[in-house]
């Protein structure tokens, strides 16, 4: 069987080939990964729940196929883990919140079901900021996650567990969710690949709602090719989500091999302004230079409304959140405060006891922005600026095929550094939120390290439903760099 170091470097294809060639079984591999989790996770804190029975059953099913010499599905035996905002039938799903501490969902999220149907073995559920609200995973109601690259630092958030699990070799690939950067930012902080698809590309059925017009599910992996393979698995129309688009899904893996020569890469000065760490700037500029060497044309573009993205986002996202989180009332599921004498006291005390500070803050902000007298000034205004931000991209993508930018203004910050300043925390998402507001796809690919060996991420943004071109450029860059 494989040694621990080998476990941490396995790829999706590597797993499938090894099982096909009977070098190891899916069951033994799952055991190896649980051993790796036992060794690594006490110091990292990526997992909230392990689903050993479910993993063993799936692995046995794959081993049976292999025993019978049958062809194996694309993710056969691949140990994966899922951010705890995606519901899993009979496996505790908390959204990182105390209000769902004992919640056992009665159905499976479509993306998870598609991963398992493709042969993936779900090891467990991953820690995150409560209801995916945060940029450091310090808002988890359970425990923070530490960055495997430097344990005094955050892994980013809100999908901090998903990024850390891949970075520490505790899963080959994971799923996360991205409402304002929550896949790309932690991928950048932990030195792995993280992809947010186009809005509507991946069904949100079974994703616990934070901000429905901004929420996306997407993969984390160590390579672009593996991210492409997972995206191919989970993408495509789902009748259970009426916002999932009826757009054909290309073979993203096959598309990777097409040449990038002649593609136009846009660079927007608005993504290289004040606040950008000099070492991050240097690494991203070097990556763009590398793309030029590969034959891409580097074209300046302008995204003039970029500075308005964060305020727009924090109105739209909190308004939607205040509505979505109204369902947690202590009646049908979740935490209920005891001893309330009236129904309305029960609602208030349950929500008060069940939600953490950041969730309350966002519910308050969103409720305020939607309340009588303020709706036009805040919510309607933000929706209009959202149109302007989206038009910026429409305009830019007339001239270029992808846009290259930093994923984050800085490398991973220290635990506790921003926890008492919500605005400073929100600004960690300054380069990522626009893609959520416009619904365009984005990916973060490792592009170097700073002097403290902290990873830096290159962000590539693509046209609506053109993940294929974005992935192709990301793959070409990754190959050229290695």
């Amino acid at each position: 069987m494989t040694a621990a170091t080998e476990v941490a470097s396995l790829t999706i294809d590597g797993v499938r080939n090894a099982i096909t060639e009977r070098r190891f079984t899916a069951s033994a591999l799952a055991e190896e990964f649980y051993a790796q989790i036992k060794r690594e996770d006490p110091e990292i804190g990526a997992f909230l729940t392990l689903s050993k029975e479910r993993a063993a059953a799936k692995a046995a099913e794959i081993d049976k196929l292999a025993d019978a010499g049958k062809p194996l599905p694309p993710l056969a035996g691949v140990p994966v883990a899922i951010k705890d905002v995606m519901v899993t039938r009979g496996v505790r799903t908390t959204a990182g919140s105390k209000i769902l501490e004992n919640f056992l969902p009665p159905y499976d999220c479509t993306a998870v079901a598609r991963m398992e149907a493709a042969g993936a073995v779900m090891l467990g559920k991953l820690n995150c900021d409560e209801f995916a609200m945060g940029s450091s995973t310090e808002n988890s109601a359970y425990h923070p996650v530490r960055n495997p690259r430097d344990k005094s630092r955050v892994p980013g958030g809100s999908s901090g567990g998903s990024a850390a699990a891949v970075a520490a070799g505790m899963a080959v690939a994971t799923l996360g969710s991205d409402t304002g950067g929550s896949i790309r930012q932690p991928a950048s902080f932990c030195g792995v690949v993280g992809l947010k698809p186009t809005y509507g590309r991946v069904s949100r059925y079974g994703l616990i709602a934070f901000a429905s017009s901004l929420d996306h599910i997407g993969p984390f992996a160590r390579t672009v090719k593996e991210a492409a393979l997972v995206l191919r698995t989970i993408a495509g129309r789902d009748p259970m989500d009426s916002t999932s688009a009826d757009v054909p899904v290309p073979d993203y893996v096959a598309e990777l091999e097409k040449p990038v020569k002649g593609l136009r890469v846009g660079v927007a000065k608005e993504y290289f302004g004040a606040g950008l760490d000099p070492e991050v700037r240097a690494a991203v500029e070097a990556a763009i230079q590398k793309l030029a060497e590969l034959g891409c044309a580097v074209v300046p573009v302008s995204l003039p409304h970029t500075e308005y993205a964060i305020p727009t986002y924090y109105i739209v996202a909190t308004a939607e959140a205040s509505s979505n989180l109204a369902r947690y009332d202590g009646v049908r599921y979740g935490f209920r405060a005891r001893g309330a004498r009236t129904l309305s006291d029960m609602y208030r005390l349950s929500r008060d006891g069940g939600f953490g500070m950041e969730v309350k803050r966002r519910i308050m902000l969103g409720t305020y922005a939607l309340s009588a007298g303020y709706y036009d000034a805040y919510y309607l205004k933000a929706q209009k600026v959202r149109t302007l931000l989206t038009r910026d991209f429409d305009e830019a993508f007339r001239k270029v095929d992808v846009i290259a930018a930093p994923t984050c203004p800085t490398p991973a910050f220290r635990l506790g550094e921003k926890v008492n300043d919500p605005l400073a925390m929100y600004l960690a998402d300054i380069y990522t939120v626009t893609a959520n507001l416009a619904g365009i796809p984005g990916i973060s690919v490792p592009c170097g390290e700073n002097h403290e060996k902290l990873p830096i991420g290159l962000q590539l943004l693509g046209r609506h439903f053109d993940e294929a071109t974005m992935l192709r450029v990301a793959h070409a860059y990754e190959q050229a760099r290695n």
Binding site: L104, Y199, M364
Partner: protein
Amino acid sequence: MKVTEKDVTYVADLAHLELTEDERARMLRDLNSILEYVERLNELDTDKVTPMAQVSDRYGVDESRQGSERFAYASREDVRNGLRESLPHEGALGNAPDTDGTFFEVPKVIER
């Protein structure tokens, strides 16, 4: 200061939150600081800009189709169990904090 203590109380009430004294003070400070930052949106003239609530009504749709025809793929016959079986009774009650086996139980709704 745009948001007052009275606003915090009013909004907390709308949102069905109780909030401790300490949380109210933090909320007052944080909401004001965030909304002050949001004020910069007023630098933009948006009088003639249409608001955008959704991405999915403008991208990835068949442009040659109009109105509800555009979203024909997202509709289905209005029949019982159209997409899947409904949850069984036990499944629907399974996570409830209090039930009598048939209904969800809550404190008295009418105050008397």
